[in-house]
Symmetry: C2
Subunit: 685 residues, 2 copies
């Protein structure tokens, strides 16, 4: 094992002391887990993980996920000690990702070492973690992506995508439901490329886990269908290495390694206590701990000679060799399979195939129309034909959300009659894991979507937020987006979900108003590289507007646009989204017929509208026009930004109800008469 | 077993055919599960469940939770057939809760039989279900409440609270993480009063569960620590009854009964298929199914003679006797333990002890002040002293959220060194189950709270929403309520969470601005009977305002109030909540010193403010004063309702960052200078 040599023991203690020192200097952070897991993480990186520090985004690398994000100093120490190079614009710069100075700036303003590891912020961090359980879910997504890439691209003699995903998780992760969902999914999919290393330190913030968490975790994972291995002592690096080998050797299941550890190992008074979890050890305890490690007591942020070199000898040399081999392999592959190689390069660069949008349909005027979930299903399929790495699925709602890719095949192991090249994922009734898995797949370069009813975005809010924080282009398709759901009733009718998504920084929420806006929504969202999208789609039919009479749907790209106008200075502006757009148009026509200078604005995406220049926004919504009515079958919270103190927001002021949708629309005031009446009041007539 | 007699078989088929017919007539709904589970539910109700149809809110009754809420017709059929009486204002009216006419109105506007069962809406429905997994979590809360009531009130010879909680759940429930969290908790707490009946029909919306869900569920529940029993055939009522007896006999663990069933049992073409899950069977299939049952083919909503009588012979007679015994017992108890009996009566009537708020402290002016999480902890304890059935806990964050009830003891089984009379619950890192469990405890009459960081309200949005939909007074305490969290960084800093809560219909979101507002928040929220509350509290210290100089904190009860005013017509109004109130006050003082007619309004609760008469709202925010600035360290979405098109909303326009809180406040513009500058601009000076 790694620690059989003195230098390895020294390196492990370097990780421990850097973690202690950084938390102490910041006077904030979590030292205990990093100290406990240093031997495990060190052994994993030095003896198993395949990663080239000179090019940390090399696609053939193993992935390392620190689901216990609060132990961020463990990861920062490894990134620093292993000499991982910084990456800018997808290319390594040759400069170190982290310096000792960066570690000293742990948790300080604008530092590269924030409290929890942040993707994009610090090279070497594969995903943003901290909210517990998310790293577990992400890692399942990464494992799915690896299987898919391998199934699509690998050829005999060309194992291009042959990497493993390692996740370190803790008691908190194991208590969170999202990891249960993800674990069940991983075993069903027989993801043998996935290893979770579970730090069973039996300590949480409130004290011993005996107060809340006394289940048999190992047996639970056996029940899911994982290979379960146990390490009795986190310091037994030789034993751990053997278990890692067993994990790699297993070819039908993911592997769960349960590691018994002692939090803050080596700290004479705080080891094994909750006090070591979330606060600095204190100067005196640090001194005594360093003494116990045989460390210079008064040195802080001390890296003994030979430690960084040791990383180059092992992790560095192994990664360099593997990377070089891979480059050769890929060069040969490029000659033999130029089209596939081009595809791989596009994926890795975040590009799109030429003509990817050439089959997106245009819809003819149709008063009866089509549900936006249905037109979205058609557009999705039109894009999927040209964009082979668009893949996804629903949380057991593919038929209702219309998200099946025709002839895409099911992503399943052969045992369940599918193939890993399949493009239709079956997430089961597991919305939370779906969100987290989708993020993991995006982080691997593919373009996945996750689908469900808008109401159930509540179950997956955490990963939706993380996609926005990570600035990754996850696609969330949410249908049944209002009280228009009908008979299923208020438990299934979203009200506040749209505003939740809109208020999440960085999320792009689109609620297209007819089939052509749906087409434009997909045309707009697919090229996104750094922003997630939530599409809100109707269950019920929406009329397809006459685009000869009204402005073209391409206005969607600007977030909001003038759909129809009297040509005079507006006496009143009607604003609507999604299923209420048709209603707004009908009311607009009535107002025009009554001689009222009305304007109707389609507002499918607030966020894109806010990004337009002030001049455009003032053109659409002239500041001196205060006669304003918004119409949306959802909470009105947020609409006053556009209707102001004196305008009227027609929306939902309570929960929905169970009844056929047309009756509900009437009950809740979404009628032409109500809109016309509000508009006339606003226009002062 | 139940179905050994012809009349029992007839009754079971009555449930099946009512379910088929109602879904068919509504042309919407889920017939298959009700048909499959009719024998199971019938046997449970007829041979085990203790419930007096004449008084369905009798506190000694067993609880029945239909976690598979989509099978609502199963429950409606049972409520109708068993003759459960309607309850108004807590008292049975003598009229049936549901008539055959109500069943015929399934899923229609204003009917008593909505698509999914709704608490308060239909007597006999113990909790609102539909969003999967929630009923499972609720049932754990009900089991906790039973244990607590029993531990506090039962005396030798007086087993007043000796009831069992039965939950029917399905594959969807089992896939959801919330049920995993709840199951782990139930086993840890050794809730032997809880039985989950798992309908393993192996069919979900997308088809066979083989596409996504192939784990060993029975083994998983053994791993949690449940007694696991298996019924091979849902139609084996005798076998099922034996398992129910085993469940009742078990005295150390909750029981999980895995029932193999065939969805839409008896339907010749659709049995065992996904087509029977979420849509009507169709007239012809119904005809053939009735034929298979030996049913009159052309009769719809047909209830054979003797079926309703049979319910009275068994469920009715057993319940009546048990209820009468209980009444006798309680009468004697009342004599022997008058104080405790009074307490029980208060709990059951939703009342409060006299002087419950007499120890709520008043805080002295203090520029350094105190974190609102800390003052809230003090006030909570002051209330807890006088309100014995206030109990709760955190998702492993009791020390950080300051939610421990001093000397309250831990709610734990004796094996884990606690007692079921303990008032401090340890939920573990399981926010989602916590929310769902809190709802279940509230449904049993107690006043529980669940606590965590505001950011993690994302993990429990679904049960928060359900508390609002059910109109129950759940209390959610969310601390660390802004970027003021500091070093933990953006993964832990809420931005959009406040607006999420505010946009949820019926939720009361309070963000008190100093210690005295915290005291008033608790004084206001404890008497609530039909509305849940989310308290947003700071990690950092907040100055305690001088209430001789500024208006009293009792203004909180009106949601917003004028804290300070120049006495002239305001040139600008500053509005703030929570941790930004002190900042607004400082800016106000500067403006006044500069001779600007400023007003500062404290706005801790939008929802209560909106309930005030227009005259009061206009007094606080005069419509002709358009110089307006809002200050809140959160998303500004929603604030334009108060600042209008031309006011300024100072808030978060992106994610937070990892650094000491004071630096972040400066970085994100929460400074006196910035507020003064914005206010002067608004005032036109």
């Amino acid at each position: 094992g790694a620690a059989s040599n003195d230098i390895d023991r020294t390196a492990i203690n370097t990780i421990r002391t850097l973690s202690m020192d950084a938390v102490q200097k910041a006077n904030s952070g979590h030292p205990g887990t990093a100290m406990a897991l240093a031997p495990v993480a060190y052994t994993l990186w030095q003896d198993a993980l395949i990663c080239d520090p000179a090019d940390p985004v090399w696609p053939g690398r193993d992935r390392f996920v620190l689901s216990v994000g609060h132990a961020s100093m463990l990861l920062y120490s490894l990134i620093f000690l292993s000499g991982i190079r910084d990456v800018k614009d997808g290319k390594p710069t040759g400069k170190p990702s982290l310096s000792i100075g960066d570690l000293e700036q742990f948790r300080q303003l604008s530092s590269k070492t924030p409290g929890h590891p942040e993707y994009r912020h610090t090279t070497g961090v594969e995903t943003t973690t901290g909210p517990l359980g998310q790293g577990c879910g992400n890692s399942v997504g990464m494992a799915i992506a690896q299987k898919w890439m391998s199934a699509r691209f690998d050829k005999p003699g060309y194992p291009l995508f042959d990497y493993h995903i390692y996740t370190i998780c803790g008691d908190g992760d194991m208590m969170e439901g999202v990891s249960s969902e993800a674990a069940s999914t991983a075993a069903h999919l027989k993801l043998d490329n996935l290893t979770w290393i579970y730090d069973a330190n039996r300590i949480s913030i409130e004290g011993s886990t005996d107060i809340a968490f006394t289940e048999n975790v190992a047996k639970r994972f056996e029940a899911y269908g994982w290979q379960v291995l146990v390490l009795k002592d986190a310091n037994d690096t030789a034993g751990f290495l053997k278990l890692l080998e067993q994990a790699k050797a297993e070819k039908t299941r993911p592997t769960f390694i349960l590691v018994h550890s002692i939090i803050a190992w080596g700290a004479p008074h705080k080891a094994g206590t909750a006090a070591a979890h979330g606060e600095p050890l204190g100067a005196e305890e640090i001194r005594e701990t360093k003494r116990a490690y045989g460390w210079p007591e008064d040195k802080s942020f001390y890296v003994p000679d030979g430690v960084m070199e040791r990383f180059q000898e092992k992790l560095g040399a192994r990664g360099k060799e593997a990377h070089a081999k891979w480059n050769e392999l890929f060069a040969a592959y490029k000659k033999e399979y130029p089209d596939l190689a081009k595809e791989i390069e596009l994926i890795l660069s975040g590009g799109l195939p030429e003509g990817w949008d050439s089959e997106i349909p245009t819809y003819k005027t149709d008063p009866k129309g089509v549900a936006s979930r249905a037109s979205s299903g058609e557009v999705l399929n039109a894009v999927a034909k040209k964009l082979p790495w668009l893949l996804g699925g629903a949380a057991d709602l593919a038929p209702s959300t219309k998200t099946l890719i025709k002839d895409g095949g099911a992503f399943q192991p052969a045992e369940w009659n599918g193939s890993y090249a399949g493009r239709n994922l079956h997430f089961g009734v597991r919305e939370h894991a779906m969100g987290s898995i989708v993020n993991g797949i995006v982080l691997s370069g593919l373009r996945p979507y996750g689908a469900g009813f808008l109401i159930f975005s509540d179950y997956m809010k955490a990963p939706i937020r993380l996609s926005a924080l990570m600035e990754i282009p996850s696609i969330f398709i949410f249908t049944h987006d209002s009280v228009g759901v009908g008979e299923d009733g208020p438990t299934h009718q979203p009200v506040e979900q749209l505003v939740q998504l809109r208020a999440t920084p960085g999320m792009i929420t689109m609620r297209p108003g007819d089939a052509n806006e749906v087409a434009e929504a997909w045309r707009t969202l697919i090229p996104f590289k750094d922003r997630p999208v939530a599409l809100a789609l109707s269950r019920q039919n929406l009329p397809t507007l006459d685009r000869d009479k009204y402005a073209p749907a391409s206005g969607l790209a600007k977030g909001a646009y003038i759909l129809g106008d009297s040509g005079k200075k507006p006496a009143v502006i009607l604003m609507a989204t999604g299923s209420e757009l048709g209603l707004a148009v009908e009311a607009y026509e009535k107002l025009i017929a009554d001689g009222i200078a009305a304007r109707v604005v389609s507002m499918p995406c607030w966020e894109l509208f806010e990004e337009q220049p002030q001049s455009y926004r003032d053109e659409v919504l002239p500041p001196d026009v205060t006669g304003r009515v918004s119409i949306e079958a959802a909470s009105t919270v947020g609409w006053h930004r556009y209707v102001g103190l004196t305008g009227e927001a027609i929306g939902m002021y309570g929960f929905g109800s169970s009844a056929p949708a047309p009756e509900l629309m009437k009950k809740f005031g979404f009628t032409v008469d109500a809109v016309v009446a509000a508009a006339k009041k606003q226009a002062g007539v």
